[in-house]
């Protein structure tokens, strides 16, 4: 059985037959046609649809006309507008990832003007937290993390600069076509700009397969190419191109040749850290490093001195235990060894090398303590090692691109026909040429992606924006505009948005604004059994989609509520303290005493979750429990599962205990010890940005006035409440 279950394959085969020639693969054609080979809707340019002539008070903008029309066709009515409190919370969480501050709440809730909401929206779009919120979404799609993943999971010294580039790009409303061009080929197209160099971190954002031991270079290279093709395929084109790596795509008009032609655009591209620091910065850094080394050196020397006799002891013991041939080879003077003896001697050297766990047990207890103490001092000093000179986590071109081949079964050892860069035939060349020289390949790809004739790129992005704000994509899976992705619920709306996006300067903020100002967005999320009977999944948007917050947003919200959130923007990733149980999961064969050097400045620990060091193999349980993606593959929509480990994290973790204590302290500062009513009111304002209802006041009051009713516990309850962890 192939890709999917038998029943499914059969039903899809039927679909494919019905679509007939429209899905047929064009025969191999190296030159490529300007016209799309496929008639499937997503490969055809968007058409300019007429908005339905729905004129009601509800339809406040063009989006609403389309939504209203679909609702009507399905016998549904839109829901009433959400309460002002809920709308406030919704739009703040959506646009900035943070709950409203008491000030935002006070100013919006007391503003009777019909333009109050619009003003709020504009202030949120202008907030620097807007770019942070978008960055999290974009980084999910490009599967960004600060480490390589897999066994070695090495730290990427400069990876975070790509993350910051993304934050800045969304904050400055960089036109999306420019954003795409910079990420795909910023180094080629805008060589004078460091910012564009940083953008190319896009290609290396995903995992990188580095293991210890011998590794096949060609295999590793193939993995890098695959990740690059995936980034463009899924992230920008919304196509499951990876399915065509081993065979022609089973459902979409993407041939295996298409796939390797796409990969061939990266034939000359290699991942590289490129310096962007000025000469003065480099000189200053070198000086600082020299000073640092001078501080570290004496400690290192002391450690060596302590370990030396034990190293010798172990070395001698291991030397005595060598197999005779190895021992003999080692006895022979280096210059007199035959080739075989040299090989044996080299291996013998590595065999007799002492390892920490061999020498430490030999030490008397006070020596062991002394050594541990010195190592601690060393680690403490190393926390202040000067940062390396700034570099871009970027890509560069090789002089010559090695030939690209179709790989049979996706196996790098089974090279088939040679291929050169080429655009997927289903879409066509759009009148552009794909060069075969090394330099400029990615520029051509970037131009093709952002051509006004490209049918996918704008559609895919407006659908991401829509899904981000509305809670459900017009295309359910934003990473799949192929056959298995199904049809959009509102094809005309999708096209209208795509044309507007590309036609009016590719402004993400403009589309965001259009969506969140629509009546469709502003609906209540209240359940209505009658309408739910018609449309249980709310495909037609008869109400707003309520959503569990991401782990990152829950953590950020708790920090905001407790008053501790450090709102500074961008910068090096922060290592917050982790539980012993988590520390023990960091794989190492080395001495495990400095695997997680916590960022020394405690104020940094209260940064937004976006800035926490994201190590692929060591997930922070608080975030992972709330379905943080594993960053090994692209995540277009966050999962939301509900389980007891989340409750345990929210009740018992040090983090939540800290936050509830701080929140209680914040309440006390405003209300004092005895004013329970004030405490309840403030508690609700700080967490939910609203006043308690009488019922809530009564519940909270009887809790706080009871014997066991600690304010800290009340604070923790507020931070655990369904309403707090949901976007209404």
């Amino acid at each position: 059985m192939g890709l999917v279950g038998r029943a499914l394959t059969e039903s899809l085969a039927t679909v494919a037959v019905c679509l007939g020639a429209s899905l047929g693969l064009a025969p191999l054609n190296a030159a490529g046609s300007s016209e799309p080979s496929s008639q499937y809707w997503s490969f055809r340019p968007p058409t300019r649809p007429e908005p339905a002539a729905v004129r009601t008070a509800w339809a406040s903008n063009p989006i609403d006309a389309f939504v209203r029309q679909a609702l009507r066709e399905h016998g549904l009515e839109p829901s009433p507008e959400a309460s002002k409190e809920r709308l406030l919370r919704r739009v703040c969480l959506d646009l900035t990832g943070l709950p409203p501050t008491p000030e935002q709440a006070a100013s919006f809730l007391s503003d009777p003007s019909p333009h109050a909401y619009e003003r709020l929206v504009d202030s949120l779009l202008a907030s620097p937290h807007y770019g942070e919120r978008w960055a999290q979404k974009w980084l999910d799609v490009v599967r960004f993390a600060d480490t390589d993943g897999f066994e070695r999971d090495g730290y990427r010294e400069h990876g975070w600069r790509y993350r910051d580039y993304v934050v800045r790009a969304f904050n400055s409303d960089k036109p999306y076509d420019r954003f795409v061009r910079e990420q795909v080929a910023g180094d080629e197209l805008f060589p004078a700009s460091n910012e564009s160099l940083l953008a190319t971190g896009f290609h290396g954002a995903g995992p990188r397969h580095v293991t210890s031991g011998n590794q096949d270079k060609e295999e590793a290279r193939q993995e890098v190419l695959t990740e690059m093709a995936l980034g463009v395929g899924q992230g920008l084109l919304g196509l499951t191109v990876q399915c065509a790596r081993c065979h022609d795509h089973k459902f979409d008009p993407i041939s295996q040749e298409d796939y390797y032609r796409l990969e061939s655009f990266f034939g000359a591209t290699e991942l590289k850290d490129l310096p962007i620091a000025s000469e003065e910065e480099i000189a200053a850094q070198e000086k600082a490093v020299a000073e640092h080394e001078a501080r570290v050196e004496p400690l290192k020397a002391q450690l060596e001195e302590i370990e030396e006799p034990f190293n010798t002891q172990v070395r001698e013991r291991k030397r005595a235990a060598l197999e005779p041939a190895f021992a003999a080879a080692l006895e022979i003077a280096e210059d007199n060894r035959t080739e075989e003896q040299a090989r044996l001697a080299k291996e013998a050297e590595s065999q007799i090398k002492p390892v920490w766990y061999e020498i430490v047990p030999l030490m008397p207890p006070d020596t062991r303590r002394h050594r541990a103490d010195l190592r601690q001092q060393l680690h403490a000093l190393e926390l202040h090692r000067p940062d390396p000179p700034a570099a871009a986590f970027a890509v560069a071109n090789l002089e010559e691109a090695p030939p690209s081949h179709i790989l049979q079964g996706g196996d790098y050892r089974r090279k088939g026909e040679a291929v050169s860069p080429g655009f997927p035939q289903a879409v066509g060349t759009l009148g552009l040429e794909a060069p075969s020289v090394g330099r400029g390949r990615r520029s051509a790809l970037a131009r093709w992606l952002t051509s006004e004739r490209n049918p996918l790129v704008a559609r895919v992005m407006v659908n991401r924006i829509w899904e981000f704000r509305m809670g459900r994509g017009l295309m359910r899976d934003p990473n799949n505009f192929g056959l298995l992705g199904g049809m959009p619920t509102h094809p005309e709306l999708l096209d209208a948005l795509a044309l507007r996006f590309a036609g009016e300067g590719w402004s993400v903020k403009a589309i965001d604004r259009l969506i969140v100002l629509s009546s469709a967005y502003r609906q209540s999320s209240e359940m209505d059994p009658k309408q739910a009977a018609i449309d249980p999944d709310n495909r037609w948007y008869w109400r707003a989609h309520r959503r569990r917050l991401s782990g990152e947003a829950i953590r950020d919200s708790a920090l905001a509520a407790s008053g501790r959130l450090n709102r500074s923007l961008t910068g090096r990733p922060v290592r917050i303290p982790i539980e012993r149980e988590v520390y023990d999961l960091i794989f190492t064969e080395a001495e495990p005493d400095n695997l997680w050097p916590v960022t020394p400045d405690r104020h940094q620990h209260d940064r937004r979750s976006l800035y926490l060091l994201n190590k692929r193999t060591v997930r922070l349980p608080f975030l992972a429990n709330f379905d943080q993606p594993d960053t090994m593959t692209s995540c277009s929509v966050r999962q939301t599962s509900t389980h007891a480990l989340q409750s345990l994290s929210l009740l018992n973790s040090d983090f939540m205990q800290d936050q509830s204590r701080s929140l209680a302290g914040r309440i006390l500062r405003h209300c004092g010890e005895s004013d329970t009513d004030c405490q309840i009111r403030r508690g609700f304002e700080f967490t939910l940005a609203r006043q308690p209802t009488p019922a809530e006041r009564a519940l909270a009051g009887s809790f706080l006035r009871s014997e066991s009713g600690a304010l800290h516990d009340f604070a923790l309850v507020l931070l655990n409440r369904n309403e707090f962890v949901y976007r209404p």
């Binding site: 890709l3 066994e151 011998n214 766990y357 799949n480 999961l585 090994m632 999962q639 409750s647």
Partner: protein, 480 residues
């Protein structure tokens, strides 16, 4: 629909095999079984629990799995796959007909290394086991050895990923997550999928070995450690008593009810999750509390001996977890520093005697204990690794990696014991008779659990992802 286990199509706890089993064995722990059942019934009323037990696709022979993974790769020809020619030709090169050999650090041109251990035949089946596992050997009549597994990397981490998730990369959910996704949990007070790594450290593949990948986090493997705080964040903060927490939860739940209409299964699920968390705080410590175990049991697992105490404790915990309805226990022998792995590139003898010394008595006790309690029938025990080791030598006294043919074994859960399936060549280098790849391994485990590999899928990034991808062959002979 984005998954093969749509909540509406699976009857709540239709198959009550484990519950029946608990009653059958109720003499030993009647109170526990009753308590268990009551808790289950309460939760079964909550429709929105994604972990509720689900009916398998067809008749299962196993309800639970204990997968003992031996990190670093034990040698097959020194444990369960005897090769008499090794000692006869020790010191000689492999015959030229064997061609070039892919190891990690060696290429097969080193001389053949004889095995330092003698093999003896055991049980009615007369299957041979080396001196390294004299206690496990007593159970050969319950064990099926498959001597012809193949993985596709000579490097630890990728091969580990292949054994755990079917790919050489850490991009897919582990088998424990797939099984939890497919079958849910029969314990409402404990996690469904529990992982117990070596205290000294994780395998080379790291936490990715037991990752839930792109599956929702509810299917994650939950780390469990022996001792008073077995699960992260389980322990109440200092000063927080059970009663005080209950008061707090009562307030929380009253407020959560305000946020939640009667039709609101999502909010109701969240309310239920808090109650489960509350119960877990007492049930999980109970599950790992070994004081109720008899001295004889503890002795049998080697808890009185320094070299077996640690691993014995974890295996005893594995039995207690399975007894309480945990679906999948992933347990590691070895991890962290090289001195605590089976990775015998040099000093094979010392290394394997040490590592087998840690595990022989406990593994044998686990089989014995499960059998005695009537649990072995429905519990599939797997003993395996990422690959085996080469017949040729490294460093004169060690062996390099060998993914070309190696042994894993199975017991319980419908497995027909006392047999060996597949074979490697006369030196134990390559699988020559019925080679099996990891897709076959996984398909077979799913089969024992009543899961059809093609019906267990999850739509991710436009692809119907499955554990066995293009499909594996169930090793039918494995089962009775």
């Amino acid at each position: 629909m984005n998954s093969s286990t749509d909540p509406s199509d699976a009857a709540t706890l239709g198959a009550t095999s484990r519950r029946d089993l608990l009653f059958r064995a109720a003499n030993g722990f009647g109170a526990l079984a009753l308590q268990h059942l009551l808790a289950q019934t309460a939760l079964a009323q909550t429709a929105a629990n994604p972990l509720r037990a689900k009916r398998p696709h067809f008749g299962a022979t196993a309800d639970a799995v204990i997968f003992i993974f031996n990190v670093g790769a034990p040698s097959s020809m020194d444990t369960f796959d005897p090769k008499p020619l090794l000692n006869r030709h020790a010191g000689e090169p492999l015959p030229e007909s064997f061609g070039s050999v892919g190891g990690q650090f060696t290429d097969g041109t080193n001389p053949i290394l004889g095995t330092p251990w003698r093999f003896r035949r055991y049980g009615q089946s007369g299957l041979p086991v080396s001196e390294l596992f004299p206690n496990v050997a007593r159970h050969v009549d319950d064990i099926c050895f498959v001597r012809s597994f193949v993985t596709h990397s000579v490097v630890h981490a990728p091969a580990m990923y292949e054994v755990h998730n079917g790919r050489l990369f850490a991009t897919h959910p582990s088998i424990g997550s797939w099984v939890t996704y497919g079958l849910g949990s029969e314990s409402e007070n404990l996690p469904a999928y529990v992982v117990m790594p070596q205290p000294e450290g994780t395998p080379e593949g790291g936490t990715s070995c037991w990752s839930q990948g792109f599956l929702p986090s509810v299917y994650q493997g939950t780390l469990l450690r022996p001792g008073p705080n077995p699960i992260l964040h389980l322990k109440r903060p200092a000063g927080m008593t059970e009663a005080r927490q209950r008061d707090m939860l009562d307030l929380l739940q009253a407020m959560n009810e305000i946020d939640s209409g009667p039709l609101d299964s999502e909010m109701q699920a969240r309310i239920a999750a808090y109650e489960l968390a509350f119960r877990m705080q007492s049930h999980a410590p109970e599950a790992v509390d070994l004081t109720k175990e008899t001295d004889a049991t503890k002795r049998s697992y080697g808890l009185e001996q320094d070299h077996t105490r640690e691993f014995g404790t974890r295996l005893l915990l594995a039995r207690r977890l399975v007894e309480r309805g945990v679906r999948f226990v992933q347990i590691y022998s070895g991890g962290g520093p090289l001195s605590m792995q089976w990775d015998a590139h040099k000093h094979l003898k010392q290394n394997h005697e040490k590592m087998a010394g840690h595990s022989d008595v406990p593994v044998a006790a686990l089989l014995q204990d499960l059998k005695q309690r009537g649990l072995l029938e429905r519990t599939l025990v797997i003993w395996g690794a990422e690959f085996g080791r080469l017949p040729t030598s490294e460093a004169g006294n060690g062996r390099d990696h060998n993914p070309h043919g190696y042994t894993m074994w199975f017991a319980g859960g419908g497995v027909r014991g006392g047999q060996a399936i597949g074979a490697t060549d006369e030196f134990g280098l390559r699988a020559v008779d019925r080679p099996f790849i990891m897709r076959d391994f996984h398909a077979s485990i799913l089969h024992a659990l009543g899961l059809d590999q093609n019906q267990l899928w999850y739509l991710h990034n436009g692809r119907h992802e499955k554990l066995t991808d293009f499909g594996g062959t169930v090793i039918k002979d494995l089962f009775a």
